[in-house]
Symmetry: C2
Subunit: 426 residues, 2 copies
């Protein structure tokens, strides 16, 4: 592995070696949100580096003083490649001493992660959630409709997706309030308004769109790949009881609208190159607009840990992105094929990722098989769905010999529901 002179960057279990260099937004006690790159246990302040003239002439155009990497993403692949080379040169042991040998500059530009607060890494333009995991579709279909009709007839032909709510996509660390909503029990006369009783996680892989399209245009899968900047971990919190009552015929709505958590660092396509894999076996041939001229899947481990308010963390999910059936550029190509305008900062969720065994199922509904079979926590206790005070943390990484390329943490803690409707002021 390539080594860095920055503290923590060569730690074997660390997420952020110099081969990673993911982009995010952070603030410090003295200074507001700006762009940075994670390296070891430090954040490299890209606004300070730009001001110091260390990132070249074009960096002034990339908006690193803003609270979002959108302008840099819109700058395109040549800019991304140039900056990756430059940052590698600045941060690698065998690179240029320009930063390394300037203690005052290091003091100013390399901030301890303990002193940095993360913000959303990009302004989320649109948020679309897909359903691209075959085992998840099979499992949820079996639970809801029985095994004979588990997969709908369209599933193996078309990437099923729906528009999510961009305004409640939040960064790791943001608390989530248990939603109120309409539910109807099977034996009830009518619906009631309750605090969600079946609060769930969904372990997902989120793709971040960098380059826009015009309304009425479209993209091939190969072009779609070039339009993607990178990836984040994503927890698509879900209220299963609300979802069940509201979803026919127009799909999930309030069951998904109360919050979606993403990890703070966007890991670039370049950093994930070593983990690219080919497509899974297909149930049937795909239509030509979904054909893939290259390998667009990844071999990345994803885990979820649950920590009760009064307990220790238990691993509840260990799965892998290779369980997905549709790749991110397929999702984007499908999204754009009808002329939908795609924007810089669009977030495309993969849908829940589940493998063949229970431990690899990416949500509690599957793990507890619709609440019928509680999962036992490693550290004691059990769960069918989430309780107030529970904290769920996603992690993810690609493993190389001696080091990993990681995504950091994607965490959220459940607050009790707000029972009162309205401010009560009037």
């Amino acid at each position: 592995m390539q080594r860095s002179w920055v503290a923590g960057a060569n730690a074997p279990g660390g997420d952020f070696p110099v081969a990673n260099l993911p982009y995010g937004v952070f603030s410090t006690a003295g200074s507001g949100p700006r762009c940075g790159v994670a390296i070891g246990d430090r954040v490299l302040d890209l606004a300070a580096m730009t001001e110091a003239g260390l990132l070249g002439r074009d960096a002034g155009e990339w908006g690193f003083h803003e609270a979002g990497i959108n302008r840099f993403m819109a700058a395109g692949p040549a800019a991304w490649a140039w900056l990756r080379r430059r940052l590698t040169d600045l941060l690698a042991e065998d690179g240029t001493p320009e930063l390394r040998d300037d203690p005052a500059r290091c003091e100013q530009a390399l901030i301890s992660m303990d002193d940095a607060r993360n913000h959303l890494p990009f302004r989320v333009a649109g948020y679309t959630d897909f359903y691209a995991g075959r085992q998840h579709a099979l499992n949820s279909g079996s639970i809801l409709r029985g095994p004979a009709n588990a997969l709908t007839p369209n599933w193996s032909h078309i990437p099923i997706g729906y528009n999510g709510r961009a305004s409640t996509v939040v960064v790791s660390g943001t608390p989530l309030r248990r939603p109120m909503g309409q539910v109807r029990d099977d034996d009830a006369d009518g619906p009631e308004m309750v605090a969600c009783r079946r609060l769930d996680i969904e372990v997902e892989f989120g793709a971040v769109v960098a380059l826009p399209t015009e309304m009425g245009q479209n993209l091939s899968v190969a072009e779609a790949w070039e339009h993607l900047f990178g990836f984040v971990l994503m927890n698509d919190w879900s209220a299963r009881d609300i979802q069940r009552w509201e979803s026919v015929p127009l799909g999930p709505f309030q069951a998904k609208a109360f919050g979606t958590t993403i990890s703070p660092w966007v890991v670039t396509r370049a950093a994930l190159e070593p983990f690219r894999r080919g497509a899974p076996e297909r149930d049937n041939p795909l239509l030509p607009y979904l054909h893939e001229p290259a390998d667009y899947f990844f071999d990345l481990t994803l885990e979820a840990h649950l920590t009760p308010s009064n307990g220790n963390a238990s691993r509840i999910v260990s799965t892998n992105t290779r369980h997905l059936y549709y790749s991110a550029p397929q999702l984007l190509a499908h999204h754009a094929v009808g002329g939908c305008r795609m924007e810089t900062g669009d977030l495309l969720g993969s849908g829940t990722i589940s493998g063949p065994e229970r431990q690899t199922f990416g949500c509690l509904m599957e793990q507890s098989w619709g609440g019928r079979d509680p999962i036992r926590l490693e550290q004691g206790g059990s769960r069918t769905f989430l309780e107030d005070g529970d904290s769920v943390t996603l992690t993810g990484w690609g493993q190389l010999e001696g080091h990993r390329i990681g995504f950091g943490r994607c965490e959220g803690t459940i607050l009790p529901a707000l029972q009162q409707i309205g401010s009560g002021k009037r």
Copy 2:
């Protein structure tokens, strides 16, 4: 009626008397997009009026030089009421002569609509489409599932809605490209990729959210009413064949993503006061969080005209907003109840508005009863669904003695599909 000294403002069939004063964004040959108010056949340039000091001290905070009325909407009800009084005073025959008696100022600030190009009146933050018309839900349910199961069990209890695609909400006059998409015929072995064969309109009423909520908060219906700024006409273009294949189980997606057209002027709640009406008879009691302490429905006529590329306009729809079952503040209260963060510039579509008779059905799928019974155009020819070159124009108004409060035109013309996938460059 109150009369204005501005050209065209007192015309009996005109949309924009001084009692209306709707807000929008326009540009001229010499100058970029800025905010304006429609009055007669003129646009009052709010940026110029602000610079001239005619709109009071606070107007500098309202962002009228920007391409969107978002900042003014966020300023809140006191600002809206103040400016409505001030504009009425400036534009009414019996008001202040400050503008009227200053020909140079009039020349600069009152622009002929013929010289003004409309833009989106507000930056669309989120776009949510509901399904709040009972007869539309009955008709589409009957066409798709048969009359016995027309209304799903949830329909009369919960405002069914789904997140739409905000990036392709466009202003009247923007051409719409017929989408490509996956469809599957009943007798086909598998799906195919085609240009949509069942391209439809949906006549809707769009509510515009002015005041935001925090994530995790909620709103009573009465509070939701105060959060709304005004309303627009909305045509939610729909690809029925694509919708049919993709919609189970997660709802419409690409069938609705290629474009949604809104009218250029946001008509305020204040202007619509004379048309407020009470709720329709309920199928069953609603849950308390949806109770309405006042009249939040409207008596407004909505029409659609279809103009073939080589023909004259035929009226194809004449309906009324009183056919809606859920009011706009009910939709907003439901949207926020689970903690979804609402934003300034959110657009909430009512869903298709249909009354009891065929002429009042708000989309072609209903009018042609699933394509089985073509509608005859007044000017010759017939349609089941839209053909290339067809132009559809929505209009809408509330009628008072001697004048109306109108919405202007919401128009779009269908371009042929783009058959090639990708740019072909690589």
